[in-house]
């Protein structure tokens, strides 16, 4: 009764030989052409593979609601404000993304940003240091704090939650100490920092040129990659798909730029933030250091066994995080033209961490992207900005903030299939 069906499949070997090396497996469902691309995209979306992208849906919902509520929300003027409001905390959130990728946390970014603002103000205004010197001092202070955290973490194995909680308190104290009796120090409006943070915008021409350059660089790198992949016998992205994507990027960038340009334009500060996001995304995705960070976040023991110097990576990440926090503090101080006891206080910490998490970076390490800082902070600041256009008492404002936040994230998670079955988010 033994009736095997040996199907030697000799012919299928022939058929696949012509295919690129990475598409030869017959279980792969072909996704060629634009249609295939779309289908693959949808299935990746559903399986929760796209990290921060689905948050965009949440963001669109929020914008829709507020635009409906108040015309002013989508006005150019307000959107320029929104970019300005997002830059400082966004920069801090970028640092948080890094520590979250490791599976660690930094609760003290608020205090560090406040301390950095205090150092700048006291140095620059109080002691009359030059601006670059004062900025340098602030950033160095941030870096030193990060190094300290990293050493404490790697040396004693104390959870970063506790280390940075201690830092939150200690550096708040130091901030108050540095500010001294005056408490609140104004930074002159005509100083470089305040000008940079409040009143420096790209010219219209420059902004459009930038958009075009970005699109061209994208196309050039992708075409070059295609060339190399063909040479290596690997599959390539169809040129049509590339073209569609390039046009999408062009629209995605030029429409906002156009809208912003109807008011003051694209601010230097926001540009700096976006540039940092792009740079860190590159560093995370395309360098050995970034790969190590992801590896440690995924499985620290595996990373160690792969010969990665785990301690050095931890320290460097903490340094980056607190330096970015210090930079964020400077931007915030510049925008407010003041440093005071409340700088970096209230919910800077929570907003920065929330931005990273809402943007799609996992609290458990190894999953996330620099872009989640950008998207997350836009969600948070859109809610806060939108609500400030609506006439509400504090209780209602809190409740609606919570509700809208939840809505945005639920919309996001509805747009993918439940991640629960695949493990933690």
């Amino acid at each position: 009764m033994s009736t095997p069906t040996p199907t030697p499949e000799a012919q299928s070997v022939d058929a696949t030989a012509a295919l690129p090396a990475d598409l030869q497996d017959e279980r792969l469902i072909a996704s060629q052409g634009v249609g295939g691309f779309l289908r693959a995209f949808l299935s990746r979306l559903r399986s929760g593979d796209l990290g921060s992208l689905p948050v965009v849906v949440g963001l669109v919902v929020i914008w829709g609601v507020f635009a409906f509520e108040n015309d002013a929300f989508l006005s150019s003027r307000n959107l320029v404000n929104l970019t300005q409001q997002s830059a400082a905390t966004g920069t801090i959130a970028l640092g948080i993304v890094l520590v979250l990728l490791l599976g660690e946390i930094d609760l003290s970014v608020g205090s560090i940003s406040g301390l950095s603002a205090a150092i700048l103000a006291v140095g620059f205004v109080g002691h009359g240091w030059s601006l670059p010197l004062a900025i340098l001092a602030s950033l160095v202070a941030g870096a030193v704090i990060g190094a300290l955290y990293g050493l404490l973490y790697t040396r004693f194995g104390v959870p970063s939650f506790v280390i940075t909680l201690a830092g939150l308190l200690a550096f708040l104290g130091l901030q108050l100490k540095v500010l001294g009796k005056e408490g609140s120090i104004n930074i002159p409006f005509d100083s470089g920092l305040v000008k940079f943070a409040q009143a420096s915008f790209l010219s219209d021409a420059a902004s459009y040129i930038l958009v075009v350059v970005v699109v061209l660089v994208y196309l050039a790198t992708r075409l070059r990659a295609n060339q190399r992949r063909t040479a290596a016998g690997l599959s390539t992205t169809p040129v049509v798909t590339l073209g569609v994507r390039a046009v999408a990027i062009l629209l995605l960038l030029s429409i906002p730029v156009y809208v912003l340009n109807r008011d003051r334009g694209v601010s230097y500060m926001f540009l700096l933030f976006v540039a940092l996001v792009v740079i860190f995304d590159f560093v995370i995705q395309r360098t050995r250091w970034g790969r190590s960070v992801l590896a440690i976040g995924g499985n620290v023991e595996a990373a160690r066994r792969a010969g990665i110097n785990v301690k050095r990576v931890y320290i460097s990440v903490f340094v980056f995080c607190s330096t970015l926090a210090a930079l964020g503090g400077l931007l915030a101080a510049g925008r407010l033209a003041s440093a005071n006891q409340g700088s970096g206080g209230t919910d800077t910490n929570l907003n920065a961490i929330a931005a990273a998490v809402i943007g799609g970076t996992s609290l458990f390490g190894g999953r996330g992207s620099a872009y989640s800082a950008l998207l997350g902070i836009l969600v948070i600041q859109s809610i806060s900005n939108g609500l400030s256009l609506v006439n509400l008492g504090s209780p209602e404002r809190y409740m609606i903030t919570g509700g809208v936040l939840l809505l945005a994230v639920i919309v996001d998670s509805l747009s993918r299939r439940s991640r629960a079955a695949h493990g933690r988010a």
């Binding site: 009764m1 033994s2 009736t3 095997p4 069906t5 040996p6 199907t7 030697p8 499949e9 497996d25 017959e26 279980r27 792969l28 469902i29 996704s31 693959a40 299935s43 990746r44 399986s47 593979d49």
Partner: protein, 275 residues
């Protein structure tokens, strides 16, 4: 074809047309499979052939995209592992699925802890654990250490011991002997035979052809996510099965065997050449 191979009783578990897709990968396509009471069916196939995916689909871990399952003659759709257990399907997963932070006893009895009054009956559970582990010749120094600190084989033994609790009708063992020592492997094979004698349906996944030939009644081959033949063990040879698995009659395995035979002439060589 499968029907003609099976014993005349109705199958305790039967699958028809099961498909499962992960992203761009079609892991299972139109799979038919069944097992009868008192029968050991080996499920074999190359790496990535879809064996574990099939097992997880039966166990309620994955929901199939397509296809039907009947259990004890009734059509069922299991939406969760709890439901599969409820039906009487016990599973040893290839990835073991143990809670590293819990100790051996807690893992063994997870989900079916014994009670004494209002508190867990740790004493009886510990005693029972030792009994089960001894039965499998496990070499575990203490059942009160977290399973994270066990060796690979010890972890596997714990996972197998789990499936002996309860009163299942079908037991699925996904590469149960992969990490086991020779003595433990022999005990597991004994166990499989005992389960068959007790009238359970057993699904055994293994890459070890001699184990398969030793205990299985039927062998079902998967290849790249599709059925690739069912063999009656008494009427086939390892070579035939390996050919179905790899999809070719000449392959690395037979080449190695051939090469080795011409090179060495040690008296033990023929017995040792089997994969």
């Amino acid at each position: 074809m499968t029907a003609t191979l099976s014993p005349p009783t109705t199958a305790v578990l039967a699958l028809t047309g099961i498909s499962k897709r992960f992203g761009a990968v079609q892991a299972l396509k139109d799979i038919d499979f069944d097992v009868h009471s008192g029968e050991v069916v080996a499920l074999v196939g190359d790496n990535g052939a879809g064996k574990s995916t099939l097992v997880k689909t039966i166990a309620g871990v994955y929901t199939p995209d397509d296809g039907q399952m009947t259990f004890d003659g009734k059509a069922e759709s299991v939406a969760s592992p709890a439901e599969a257990q409820g039906l009487g399907i016990a599973t040893v997963f290839q990835d073991l699925a143990l809670c590293d932070n819990l100790d051996v006893v807690a893992n063994l009895f997870l989900g079916r802890e014994l009670y004494r009054g209002r508190a867990l009956d740790e004493v009886t559970m510990e005693q029972e654990s030792w009994r089960l582990l001894r039965q499998l010749s496990a070499k575990i120094p203490s059942v009160r250490i977290p399973v994270a600190s066990l060796s690979g084989g010890q972890r596997q033994t714990v996972a197998i011991a789990r499936s002996l609790l309860g009163a299942p009708k079908v037991v699925m063992l996904d590469e149960p002997t992969a990490a086991l020592g020779v003595a433990q492997t022999a005990e597991v094979l004994n166990l499989v035979e005992r389960l068959r004698e007790n009238g359970l349906g057993v699904i055994l996944i293994s890459h070890n052809m001699s184990d398969v030939m030793a205990v299985a009644d039927r062998v079902s081959v998967l290849r790249l996510g599709r059925n690739n033949g069912t063999f009656n063990v008494s009427q086939t040879t390892s070579q035939e099965i390996i050919a179905a698995i790899t999809g070719a009659t000449t392959n690395a395995v037979s080449q190695r065997a051939a090469r080795r035979e011409t090179h060495t002439a040690a008296p033990t060589a023929t017995t040792e050449e089997q994969s």
